[in-house]
Amino acid sequence: MKWNVVVGRYDPTNPPARNGANGYPPPYENAPPRNYQSFEVELPEHAVVLDALIEIREYQDESLVVRCACRSAICGSCAMWVNGHARLACKSKLRDFTVDGKVTVESPPSMPVIRDLACDMTPFWEKNRKVRPWLENRLPIPEGEEYRVPNAAMENLIQEVSCISCGACLMDCESFAINKDFLGPAALAKAYRYTADPRDDQEKQRLKEYSEANGVWDCTHCYECVQQCPKGVAPLDQILKLRRLAVDAGFTNNPGTRHADAFAESVRDSGRLNELTLMPKSVGLFNIRAQLQALPTALRLLRAGKLPPVFHEKIPGLKRVKNIFNKLGGRFK
């Protein structure tokens, strides 16, 4: 079969002019523009995008740069944008991704580009290093034998251990898109992997670190990481587990926990969300500076007629809501 593959090329020794629009939506408007080149390849019906790229590189244009090794979704080399979302090229069937007669691939604009389809993964590896991704052994280390731990405790970690570090989650992470310091989905999933390992000694210290700025609370639950992960790691699920562990361990003095608490308190006390108090409670009631910083946003909301009502009304039957809280127990009983 004939397939049409459009490849976003980028040559660092001859970069395209930056003045025009690059075609990317915000916040990627500053990413270097790509030069889109169309290739036609002859491949069987079940072929994947990577097959096409290898075919092009071997028989049409040897200068096409694409990282790949295993071809079977194990090595994690070939994550790239396929039709505007991060995917493994080796796992994306041409027939599934050909839309209007073509499939478009490019290095994701969320990452620095090196050349063609190879992006600079340094941000990814740096984030990984920042979460201290190694076992800090619980002492004493058993002499000449293994730690005795239940199999369930190991199976609990296999979801993260399945991560192949392809970076697809980070490439499409909406929080990372606007905050390059956010630790990101993969690194935080890795953080959970060692935090929840019963052989690790640093659970508290880790939870404290991960609760700080750019950590677990900076995730916006957009679910892009869950959707893009080719190995079912579901990084967001691991982040949520870390949040629960952190709160249970008492690491609550941070905007993230306060934000979650403000939600819960408002619903408990009025049956609905009081959006007006949400922001001050999240940043801290006495954090005047942060509240002043939010003033322009509040004014814009006001102009657009979207500022929440000043008088927050309780819903009828509030007692039943309180009963739910009581039944659930926990911190908001």
Partner: protein, 559 residues
């Protein structure tokens, strides 16, 4: 640029990272050079597990015997003793590093059955054991702060006065060549699977370190011993782990018969890999195959076992062939998977060239002899990675620092520049590589004979002549993959030469080397290793070394 280290490791798979970790622990200045990021290494694709005799009723001697029998008595028994007796401590150490091994009801390490093993001694993490180990070791080298030159590609070894003193490497990101000077080099660059087409191996398995050592004058051993894995996926050739059969999967022919019952009445599907691959080849050749394949049947294992213990191969078969192994058998065929041969080393990983060490698939200690048992390769990487790291760290204490190397680096820069500038003459690396791989699979595969091997040799000479005309279709400095592919092809041609010449030499059938013109094992004449070496500018020469026998005299091999 010239940079100095005490020890430089080529490759960042399990053997390389384990070697580097050991060197770092010894307090020496160690660096890893790897053409891909460490976690992209092909060790990560190992699925089934890692062997060690830890459990009750098992002993390292039984493990050693299984290994030696599996090797068809070509393994050096002193080396096998080292590997099997040290295996338990390495598994325990991995567990202490954080590998999430499967546990039994008591929370102790649990095992699964594997091919050619008389006891269930394979420790595992689902069917991603290699990946779990690779990441744990990567985490450990991060913890230890080991320097890694990521995406640096080795183009030559630096040999001074008969000692290996470093490597020249291309920094892919900038296109610049650098000399990494050191007291000892540990080659841990993996196998040469891409010499064959198809192969289960990743595209990066191009025999770089083997060829570099060969060119530097180090002897290669047992290069004729090429393992075909019995269960590689139809079409793409991806690996379907032996753990599937370890968990109870059947192999069926077109008559729906478990044909292995005829070839290996005791072990059936769990006979050693050379035996199963030969049996499949016979079934297919005699017309009982299905479209060039046999069937791997897991339906009776049930969804639970498949999804919990073999999820990755379930996903691969579904993704790449559209077969759901819960409801349908998977078509498989023997496919090139592993090389038992490699750079000859002693039990400390030392090659006969001073300052040169090797560990992992690129090395030949020899613990696998004529046929490697499943789940012994990960073990090999760890035991001999560790030992070579320790030995190299000790060796460098007696080595004086170097101040030379500018000329060598300049000459290498010149050589690479000329290669880049070579004009297009109608030959491309892709075409030559494809012809090489197809030819090797045809003539130097499961069955071989004199005529086929001679045909392979003459084809190889032809390909080598054409290789000299191959041009690099990319002139950029930044991330020039075409350049590295051309250099890799040169490595592959050298590896193929060593394999073909060694296969022509061994006039018997042993392990993975089955000669239809010499169908019997011949201990009287061939209980010895085939060594091949090439001095610069000379034709390759063949030599022999005896097999070390300690406790287990050769017997007839049945499963």
């Amino acid at each position: 640029m010239i940079v100095d280290h005490d020890v430089v490791v080529l490759g960042a798979g399990l053997a390389g990272m384990r070697a580097a970790l050991e060197a770092a622990r010894s307090g020496v200045n160690v660096a890893i050079v790897s053409k891909v990021h460490p976690v992209r290494s092909h060790s990560g694709a190992a699925q089934g597990g890692i062997n060690a005799a830890i459990g009750e009723g098992d002993s390292w001697e039984i493990h050693a015997f299984d290994t030696i029998k599996g090797s068809d008595y070509l393994a050096d028994q002193d080396a096998v003793e080292v590997m099997c007796s040290e295996a338990p401590q390495d598994i325990i150490e991995l567990e202490h590093m954080g590998v999430i091994f499967y546990r039994d009801d008591q929370g102790k390490l649990g095992t699964r059955a594997f091919g050619g093993a008389s006891k269930a001694r394979t420790y595992f993490v689902g069917d991603i054991t290699g990946q779990a180990l690779l990441y744990t070791l990567y985490d450990q080298i991060l913890k230890a702060g080991v320097k890694v030159y990521e995406e640096w590609f080795s183009t030559d070894l630096y040999v001074v006065d008969g000692q290996c003193r470093g490597t020249v490497a291309l920094d892919m990101m900038t296109g610049e060549l650098h000399l990494l000077r050191c007291g000892a080099v540990i080659v841990a660059s993996g196998g040469m699977g891409r010499v064959y087409e198809p192969s289960t191996n990743a595209l990066i398995c191009t025999g770089d370190g083997i060829a570099l050592a060969y060119r530097a004058g180090a002897p290669l051993m047992d290069m004729e011993m090429v393992q075909y894995h019995p269960t590689t996926l139809k079409g793409t050739g991806f690996l379907m782990t032996e753990a599937a059969r370890g968990e109870g999967a059947y192999l069926l022919n077109a008559d729906n018969e478990r044909f292995m019952q005829r070839y290996a009445p005791k072990m059936v599907e769990l006979a050693s890999r050379d035996v199963v691959s030969r049996s499949e080849t016979i079934e297919i050749a005699q017309g009982r195959g299905i479209d060039g394949c046999v069937l791997l049947d897991m339906r009776h294992l049930g969804r639970d076992v498949i999804m919990h213990k073999l999820p990755q191969i379930h996903e691969i078969a579904l993704d790449f062939l559209g077969v759901d192994m819960i409801t349908d058998p998977v078509p498989v065929r023997p496919g090139m998977h592993y090389i038992m041969g490699g750079v000859k080393t002693d039990v400390h990983g030392a090659a006969p060239l001073p300052g040169l060490y090797a560990a992992g698939e690129c090395a030949c200690v020899s613990v696998h002899g004529g046929n490697r048992l499943g789940a012994n390769s990960l073990l090999d990487t760890l035991v001999f990675g560790r030992r070579s790291g320790a030995a190299a760290s000790e060796y460098i204490k007696g080595v004086k620092p170097l101040t030379t190397g500018e000329d060598f680096l300049a000459a290498e820069q010149q050589r690479i520049s000329e290669l880049l500038e070579r004009p297009y003459a109608g030959e491309t690396h892709a075409r030559v590589r494809l012809e090489l791989g197809t030819m090797m699979d045809q003539y130097v595969g499961v069955y071989r004979d004199e005529a086929g091997l001679n045909a392979a040799l003459s084809k190889l000479h032809d390909l080598k002549r054409r290789y000299d005309l191959v041009s690099v279709g990319d002139k950029s400095r930044v991330f020039n993959q075409a350049l590295t592919f051309v250099i890799e092809l040169g490595y592959m041609l050298d590896c193929a030469e060593a394999t073909i010449l060694s296969a022509l030499t061994r006039k018997e059938s042993r392990g993975a080397h089955s000669r239809t013109d010499f169908p019997q094992r011949n201990d009287a004449e061939w209980l010895k290793h085939v060594l091949i070496r090439r001095s610069p500018g000379q034709a390759p020469s063949i030599d022999f070394v005896p097999v070390t026998i300690t406790k287990w005299p050769p017997q007839e091999r049945t499963y």
